[in-house]
């Protein structure tokens, strides 16, 4: 899930100020799950902005152009009229809408990370999309995202009593978690395996998957 947070209301008001006609687009998938861009939040935002809002739609997944076309198909006239789109989705959804509509985009949310949802208000980062998953070797725990330093051969000297120095020894040290998991799985030999430097070229340019 892509975890998002609402921008401060004053920030949104500042960005919407120059425009007279605003169309709000929500997200029916991740932002609905986060309660940042679902039906309810889109309705609240429309009430807050008042008469400026000329239309609103929650697209099932604004990052999927097929669904954008399907869900916004009925609002063509209003979209054309709108000065700007206020988008309550992650950055991928907001940019897909920018490319699709050519309209001025006002992002209503900040994209925080790819993570798991425990419950509303409890979101945890679990993937950095590094393009080279190693969790088979690390007890199902990603050292790239869960170690504050992203070390492939940890831990560093900053762990104490299994806690990480970043953030003042409150969060678990990923490498102590990895050690415990591998030990429990009877695969501790994997802990001392030397992992060579990552090939960062996989993430050095905007990524595309074009397979057909």
């Amino acid at each position: 899930m892509i975890i998002t947070k609402s921008k401060a209301p004053e920030k949104i008001l500042e960005m919407t100020k120059p425009y007279k006609k605003i169309f709000i687009v929500g997200c029916g998938t991740c932002s609905t799950a986060c309660q940042t861009g679902g039906e309810e939040q889109v309705k609240e935002m429309a009430e807050r902005l008042g008469v400026k809002v000329i239309g609103k739609v929650v697209v099932e997944s604004p990052c999927d152009l097929r669904l954008v076309k399907r869900d916004l198909g009925g609002s063509k006239q209003l979209l054309e009229e709108a000065d700007a789109l206020l988008v309550l989705s992650c950055g991928a959804g907001a940019q897909a809408l920018a490319e699709q509509t050519g309209k001025i985009i006002i992002p209503g949310l900040d994209t925080i990370f790819v993570g798991k949802i425990e419950r509303i208000g409890r979101f945890y980062e679990r993937c950095r999309a590094c393009a080279d998953c190693v969790i088979y070797e690390t007890g199902g725990i990603c050292p790239i995202v869960r170690c504050s330093k992203g070390l492939l051969n940890g831990p560093c000297g900053g762990q104490a009593h299994g806690k990480c120095e970043a953030g003042g020894h409150t969060r678990d040290c990923a490498w102590v978690l990895i050690y415990n998991a591998l030990k429990q799985q009877g695969r501790l030999a994997l802990f001392t395996k030397f992992r060579p430097p990552m090939d960062r070229s996989k993430k050095a340019q905007p990524q595309e998957v074009v397979s057909r």
Binding site: L151, N153, F194
Partner: protein
């Protein structure tokens, strides 16, 4: 076959002599005066001294520049600390070539305190490679004359690569496995985190015996009771012995300035002379790394006391 020793540090260790190393911490300044003054105070008592690389992620005068100027101006060898926090593999490699070209023969590889602890907390933490990979980089440079990708280096690279170990680590097993990984890659020497408890130091060295890596134990003479208390409260895993702290506290009650300083020094020298003598007598430690930043005056007295 043992590797060739390029530095005074490694030559002395290989010769079987117990070594002392010191520490210089460059600050936020564009002047070398202070680091040269400290280096001069340590010279003759430590075989080499570490030059810290932006400790606690504070942006300071660069370790490589200080390591160079200290060697040039005082003739004392340095151990240039390099963290993987602030530079990617290109910059680290380039700094290593620069260090070798400047005649620096020892580098100490470190992760570096996280940028969240920095005086510039908005900085991007780099960590392109980790310390194990950094050790591997140095090994390839020295042993094969190539960079990480196998590209040839012109001329021989003469560097020794050090690692850090923490006898206070809890869980210790995780620390020991991490060290094992780096020893296998080919680290040349180890300096440890500060340790006060001699039994803890001995236990750690016992574990290190199975590795053929020289170990220098880190110690931290305390300039005042306040410093000791700060370490005890703020450095996880390190407990400063109560008796030692009490003695420091008592010494600080002396009103006369110079008598008070002398008494505090006595307390430190007595404690650490006992510590070092016990380590020398009962373990295979190659030496002691004295971290007396801001308290370099104690190094001379301590080394003389131990050498009696």
């Amino acid at each position: 076959m043992p590797r060739e020793a390029y530095s005074e540090l490694m030559k002395t260790i290989v010769a079987g002599r117990f070594v002392f190393t010191g520490e210089i911490e460059p600050k936020k300044t564009a002047h070398f005066d202070d680091v040269i003054r400290v280096a001069k105070a340590l010279k003759g008592y430590t075989v080499a001294c570490n030059v810290t690389d932006n400790p606690r992620a504070q942006a300071y005068l660069s370790s490589l520049s200080v390591a160079h100027i200290v060697q040039k101006e005082t003739g004392m060898e340095t151990i240039c600390q390099m963290t993987v926090r602030d530079r990617n593999r290109l910059a680290l490699f380039s700094e290593l070539l620069g260090a070798a070209a400047l005649g620096i023969r020892n580098v100490l590889t470190m992760s570096g305190d996280h940028t969240s602890l920095s005086d510039n907390p908005g900085a991007m933490p780099v960590y392109d490679i980790d310390t194990a990979q950094f050790v591997y980089m140095v090994r390839r440079m020295v042993d094969e004359g190539v960079d990480l990708e196998g590209n040839k280096i012109d001329g021989k690279v003469k560097l020794h690569v050090g690692i850090v170990g923490n006898p206070n680590a809890d869980p210790l097993e995780v620390e020991l496995l991490k060290i094992e990984r780096k020893v296998k890659i080919g680290a040349d020497f180890m300096q440890t985190q500060v340790v006060f408890d001699v039994e803890k130091a001995k236990g750690f060295l016992k574990e290190m015996k199975r590795h053929s890596i020289p170990v220098l134990l880190g110690i931290f003479p305390c300039k005042s009771y306040g410093v000791a208390e700060f370490i005890s409260k703020n450095v996880p895993g390190i407990s400063v012995p109560k008796d030692f702290m009490e003695e420091l506290k008592k010494a600080e009650e002396i009103e006369d300035n110079s008598r008070r300083k002398s008494r505090v020094e006595d307390v430190n020298v007595r404690y650490f002379t006992d510590f070092i003598s016990e380590v020398k007598r009962t373990t295979h430690a190659s030496g002691i790394h004295i971290m007396a930043v801001g308290y370099e005056s104690v190094v001379k007295t301590l080394v003389e006391s131990v050498s009696k």
